[in-house]
């Protein structure tokens, strides 16, 4: 490994510091934990260091800084692909008949390519911003007092896991960091472990992802069996891939994909994600929306070289179809369940599942294209790269928007909670009937929390795919590429139709969420007393709003970087403005009539029909005399107009069987419980019977007999040393005669 990597070491002094990106948060964890234990009640620790929040922020800031420098180096020179740092940890070999057959190296290294760069930026940037948010959210809530150090310690350990997973140079380390994240997810969901719902949600999340992890491990073992290594430098080598049986490889990758399904909460292993919202909101924002759930996507994206290899051409399309279908099913199913959720964070949780489904469909389409198109054709290569880029770009847009949405929702919940606390000071804790997360207790907040409302609006627009904002650029790309594949492989009509329908559904549930929270009149006195939030919470919202709004710039730049030698390389040939103009033309005036129509259908569904339905159902005027900020006054006016003109009562639909089924999460959780009771409990009973009758029975017999023998033997122990010596002498004589007799 070190031999091959030495030629690829980036000629930059910063690359040597790449391991620090992982080490800084990793080392911050014990520091925060122990300092927190020692100085728990110290005022400096509490007020200046924010119970460890500042230490965590410093570590994350350092990691972000080094990440940005490395990303800048990478973007400056694309040839620097591959290992930039490697450390051999263990050298061993498989021995067979006295001679070493295969030598094995276990080592840790840093591997950088365009997937890493994308995920590294997302992870480091969001970890940093959400850390700022966490200081504003966690430290102002009395319920967290004196245990925030535990939160920050687990938080930075999670960040170390995420950054490590993105940067590591082998599937082995990917798996190790993957499990570290799983552990932190468990710990953080169960942060309020005194609540039974939180601790059972933590267990559910851990056990469900564990099912996926077992498959991932099986997949990795199979991959090891095929390649004799898990290092990217070995498994991605075209010559090595050519020597592998495509069927076995497809099976191994399929197993690994199940791991990704568990981690990214896709159907049918999605049940843990909505419950995971029991954790503190920064955790929901970071782990269960912006970063950890991307781990599964990252794993699938990492499989790209297998699909792109010439020797695998056309062999792995089934897996690509499965990936796209799972994504399509989840996109529609989760969007449907999000229709009827009243909990603000649960809407976002289902929205996360749905959007991750989009990305899986996009990846599936890109992998299909990579696997079937002609390897040597530059046009085909460009199509593949753009399709892959669209999926990764949606990952980026979704992470930014969803991180922001969760932080905005946290800001709302935080202030509702405070207002409730202010109005009912006798009510302590969360055990009372008031649910600060329910949208039934909100409404009319647009005038009271202008920045939060703006951030939520921009985030929702990005998720919905409103033209020109954030997710629009990537979502159109995913839908278009799914259909492009469907034109060649009819099976793909299913996921392609799913993502198209899902666009309209996304428009509906995101609008519904925004309207129920911010528009209309305050539903009770608590919502009427909500005030603006603090600066720690505002800052990341402000930054992310701009990032989401400016993603068109990234789109214009992105094509230049993903396909540097193709017709898309504007940055090198024409410049950023032309890149953006091309993007606009591509989206709104496509030369291909089919895609032209498709684009407009998607826009009509996501940006017009969905919000229109939501406005007519859930819209409402603000309280008289309440004014909102000028930049989203048009939205409120439009909403008022639609609501006045087209309002209709949906109580008939709300009580229909489908709505109730959706409210019950399509009964999937119930079926799981039933299966558990029937299969697992039945099996356990049988196992218990075997245990008591056969295993215990045998052991009891042995025990009885040995007790009898020992009672007999005990009479020989007289306690007199001379008797023992006599026995020794007799024994020695017996042995002597025995040996004599044998000889």
């Amino acid at each position: 490994m070190s031999g091959s990597s030495s030629s690829q070491i980036v000629d930059s002094s910063m690359a040597e510091y790449a391991p620090l990106i992982i080490l800084l948060p990793l080392l911050a964890m014990p520091v925060i934990l122990f300092l927190g234990k020692i100085f728990n009640t110290n005022p400096t620790w509490k007020n200046t260091l924010k119970e460890g929040g500042i230490i965590a922020l410093a570590a994350m800031g350092g990691a972000l800084f080094i990440s940005l420098v490395i990303i800048k180096d990478y973007i400056g020179s694309f040839s620097n692909n591959g290992d930039i740092f490697s450390l051999t940890w263990l050298n061993t070999a498989i021995w067979e008949g006295g001679s070493s057959v295969t030598s094995i190296h276990f080592g840790f290294g840093i591997y950088i390519d365009h997937i890493t760069v994308m995920l590294l930026f997302v992870a480091a940037f969001l970890c940093f911003l959400i850390n700022i948010f966490a200081i504003g959210y966690m430290n102002t809530d009395p319920i967290n007092e004196d245990r925030n150090h535990r939160f920050y310690a687990e938080f930075v350990l999670f960040c170390a896991g995420m950054l490590g997973m993105v940067l590591s140079d082998s599937f082995l380390w990917l798996f190790i960091f993957w499990e570290i994240m799983g552990l932190c997810s468990y710990l953080l969901i169960g942060f309020y472990y005194e609540r039974p719902s939180a601790s059972s949600a933590a267990k559910k999340a851990f056990m469900t992802t564990r099912i996926g992890d077992v498959f991932l491990m099986i997949g990795l073992v199979m991959l090891w069996d095929l390649f004799g290594s898990l290092d990217y430098s070995v498994v991605f080598d075209t010559a090595n891939i050519a020597a592998v049986n495509p069927g076995s490889l497809q099976l191994a990758l399929g197993m690994m994909f199940v791991g990704a399904v568990g981690k990214s909460a896709q159907f049918p292993l999605h049940v843990w994600l909505p419950d995971a919202m029991e954790g503190p909101t920064p955790v929901s924002a970071l782990i269960h929306a912006a970063t950890m759930v991307n781990a599964g996507l990252y794993l699938v994206a990492r499989m790209f070289p297998f699909f792109g290899a010439e020797s695998m051409s056309g062999e792995l399309v089934d897996l690509a179809f499965i990936i796209a279908s799972i994504g399509g099913i989840t996109a529609v199913m989760a969007a449907g369940i999000a229709f009827v959720q009243d909990d603000l964070k649960k809407v976002l949780a289902y929205s996360t599942m749905s959007q991750l489904g989009y990305i899986f469909t996009g990846l599936g389409a890109a992998l299909w294209l990579a696997n079937s198109l002609d390897y040597h054709d530059p046009v085909a290569q460009t199509i593949v790269v753009v399709a892959f880029g669209a999926a990764l770009f949606h990952l980026f847009n979704h992470a930014m928007a969803k991180g922001m949405l969760f932080m905005a929702s946290g800001s709302v919940i935080h202030e509702i909670h405070h207002a409730h606390h202010h109005l009912h000071p006798d009510d302590h804790g969360d055990d009372d009937d008031f649910d600060a997360q329910s949208m039934e207790n909100m409404g009319g907040l647009a005038s009271k929390m202008p920045l939060t409302a703006t951030a939520m609006l921009v985030g929702s627009a990005s998720i919905m795919g409103l033209p020109l904002i954030g997710g629009f650029w990537s979502k159109e790309g995913i839908i278009a590429n799914a259909w492009r594949v469907a034109l060649e492989d009819p099976r793909f009509f299913f996921p392609a139709a799913c993502v198209l329908v899902g666009a309209g559904m996304t428009g509906f549930y995101m609008s519904r969420m925004w309207l129920k929270t911010f528009a209309g009149k305050p539903s009770n006195e608590v919502a009427a007393h909500v005030g603006p939030t603090n600066n720690w919470i505002k800052t990341p919202l402000f930054i992310l709003t701009f990032v989401t709004l400016s993603s068109i710039l990234l789109a214009g730049m992105g094509f230049a970087h993903w396909a540097p030698d193709s017709e898309y390389s504007f940055l090198s040939e024409k410049g950023l403005v032309e890149g953006i103009m091309y993007e606009l033309g591509h989206a709104f005036a496509n030369h291909d009539t089919f895609f032209f129509i498709l684009t407009y259908i998607a826009i009509a569904l996501g940006a017009i029909l969905g919000p229109f339905m939501a406005m007519s159902l859930f819209g409402g005027k603000l309280e008289d005399g309440e004014e909102c900020k000028p930049w989203f006054r048009p939205v409120i006016r439009l909403n008022n107009w639609v609501y006045d003109k087209y309002h209709w009562d949906n109580s008939g639909i709300a009580t229909s069987g489908l709505a109730i089924a959706l409210q019950n999460r399509l009964y999937i959780d119930k079926y799981y419980d039933l299966a558990m009771v029937k299969i697992v409990a039945g099996f356990s009973n049988k196992a218990a019977e075997v245990d008591t009758k056969i295993i215990d029975g045998t052991i009891k017999q042995i025990e009885d007999k040995s007790q009898k023998i020992s009672t007999t033997v005990r009479s020989l122990t007289t306690g007199s040393a001379r008797d023992y010596i006599l026995w020794v002498a007799i024994g020695t004589l017996l042995i002597f005669f025995f040996i004599w007799g044998v000889a």
Partner: protein, 100 residues
């Protein structure tokens, strides 16, 4: 020169005397002396073997055994002192705390 067989026979007789003494005597110090007797019987056996084979190794072993026997006596007497401190007797029949 005495025939090594005689030496060997004397050694066997001494060993059996020592062994019987260990089994039958009640006083711990007498038992210790009997053990010493058995060790010396073993030394004598070493000497007999050395004569028989014409090899000095047996003499060397005998010297080692004497050194070890000396330290064994020291430890044994120390144990008796400790036992006496605790039980106020070194009569072996009265010391049976290991009994069930």
């Amino acid at each position: 020169m005495i025939d090594p067989a005689w030496v060997s026979g004397l050694s066997a007789i001494l060993f059996i005397i020592g062994l019987l003494g260990v089994f039958t005597r009640k006083n711990a110090i007498i038992v210790l002396m009997c053990i010493e007797l058995m060790l010396n019987a073993a030394n004598m056996q070493f000497a007999a073997a050395a004569i028989h084979h014409g090899d000095a190794t047996g003499w060397v072993y005998a010297l080692f055994a004497i050194a070890i026997a000396a330290s064994e006596v020291a430890i044994g007497l120390a144990i008796f002192l400790a036992v006496y401190g605790k039980h106020e007797t070194i009569t072996l029949d009265d010391i049976n705390v290991l009994s069930n």
